[in-house]
Assembly symmetry: C2
Homo-oligomer: 290 residues x 2
């Protein structure tokens, strides 16, 4: 296949593949983990729906594969989980490794327009075009993954990624969910720093990549969205997440079919994700026809 | 309480407490994580049964708390999980930090008799006497933890710990289970190195701390044991685990009530543990009257 298999690990009756491939979008090697549930690993292979999980700041595909517990429900319901990489890595860009909330640790899943990131940090193109084409078109992986049934979820920066890619691409994903998403990045410090660095100073450009802003112009009505936020999450308390803004924008836009749950005392960690990952897999399964 | 609370983290409807206390057995600070299920956190508090999880080489209480997912079934069934520390740490002993399979990374849960470990590496005393007394006698924790209903489990070196502490202390634990346990340490490189270092050269002394050897003199008949081993586990293939020796000894001793499951393709990692942790919690729950 076009991917190099670094490891194949038995997990919950299925297997987790740790893969890498060369990305033309970024010009770098990109890692991606794919969990195949037992329902796919039949003879002949069976195509199963796919849930994409976008990770948060500082993460790699490894963190949620190990600590998110999505495989538990995915194995029961027969979903594959795809854990993409979080940014281009292994290239020398000034400043890209200096902070936890910008550069290699924090692509924000957009296509950068500003030097030195433009032409390399093309994560939106990578996630919406190159990676799906590579996975679904692969001679081996394509036998297990159904390109017609894909949903998306993510955590923190990855929650921002999931919500924005969903809103920007009507019909591409069957549903969306998010754990503690950065819901209104144009109005929080993390988002302001990232968008200024990747997109420049024009705040109107930033709005094209902000889930709360995108709601006003969204063509659909039924959002098919589940969002969980922990009330003990320090980043929520610091105003980095702003889910209330997303809720207000959804109400103003007349959007329905979404649930934002404030989970008492939960923090921003994988302890929070693992507690509610069954629910998020079930949410996706419902819209993926399982 | 006698413990210092380093963190209290919401998890699966309950909470995970990260605690430390000063141990008189070891003369050091010891960490211990305690997961309290929602069933305990009522008003007034409810005493719930306890499952002790002993970790493997190089681990701390953190690894399994984050990646083992015992909390999932424990929250459903109403068990507390206690994740003890794996060795005395923070003291300067020559050689104790040099290798991954001896010293700080690998106490083997015994009381050392050889210098420089004697008098400090008293893990058996710590686990069977001091830690339970501290937990159950604590004004706060004691309201949640039932001293009359305790089972034990563990992984790799912790599987050895669980099996040997169970066999040495009839009636102390309601049941035992193990993930990929070092089942016959007197006959594998890990065990030989550890026992020589902690116990000296007398191999008859070693046998007192070997689950396979202990079976011959065990007073019970119904072992109430569940053991899982992955057939893709490199340490199993290298002869570090030797579960077949344990099975043969159990058969020879006329012991019943145990199941050793060889799980196809599973490795030695937390991917393996998390896949089967529901089963091990259910095994304990059955014998703890839940």
């Amino acid at each position: 296949m076009a991917f190099t298999t670094k490891a194949s690990i038995a997990s919950f009756g299925g297997k987790l593949l740790k893969l890498t491939h060369v990305s033309s979008s970024t010009g770098t090697d990109m890692a991606v983990n794919v969990f195949l549930p037992p329902q796919a690993l039949t003879t002949p292979p069976q195509k199963v729906p796919v849930l994409i999980f976008l990770s948060g700041l500082t993460c790699s595909p490894e963190n949620c594969s190990e600590k998110g517990f999505l495989q538990h429900a995915a194995a029961r319901r027969g979903l594959a989980i795809v854990y993409p990489d979080t940014s281009p890595k292994g290239i020398d860009i000034a400043g890209a490794k200096d902070t936890y909330d910008f550069g290699e640790a924090a692509s924000f899943y957009i296509d950068a327009t500003q030097p030195p990131y433009a032409g390399i940090y093309n994560m939106e193109t990578y996630l919406t075009a190159e990676l799906p084409a590579a996975l679904f078109g692969d001679a081996e992986l394509g036998a297990w993954l159904d390109p017609a049934r894909v949903s998306i979820t993510g955590h923190s920066m990855g929650g921002h990624g999931a919500l924005t890619l969903y809103l920007k691409n009507p019909g591409k994903y069957a549903s969306v969910s998010a754990f503690a998403p950065i819901s209104n990045p144009t109005r929080c410090p993390w988002g302001e720093k990232a968008f200024a660095g990747y997109l420049g100073d024009d705040r109107d450009e930033w709005k094209k990549h902000d889930a709360t802003e995108l709601l006003a112009g969204w063509v659909g009505r039924d959002l098919k969205a589940l969002i969980d936020v922990g009330t003990g999450d320090n980043f929520y308390k610091q105003g980095q997440l702003l889910p209330e803004n997303f809720e207000a924008a959804a109400e103003k836009a007349g959007v329905t079919g979404y649930e934002v749950r404030y989970q008492k005392d939960y923090d921003h960690s994988y302890y929070f994700i693992s507690t509610f990952s069954d629910d998020h897999v079930e949410h996706a399964a419902k819209y993926l026809g399982l």
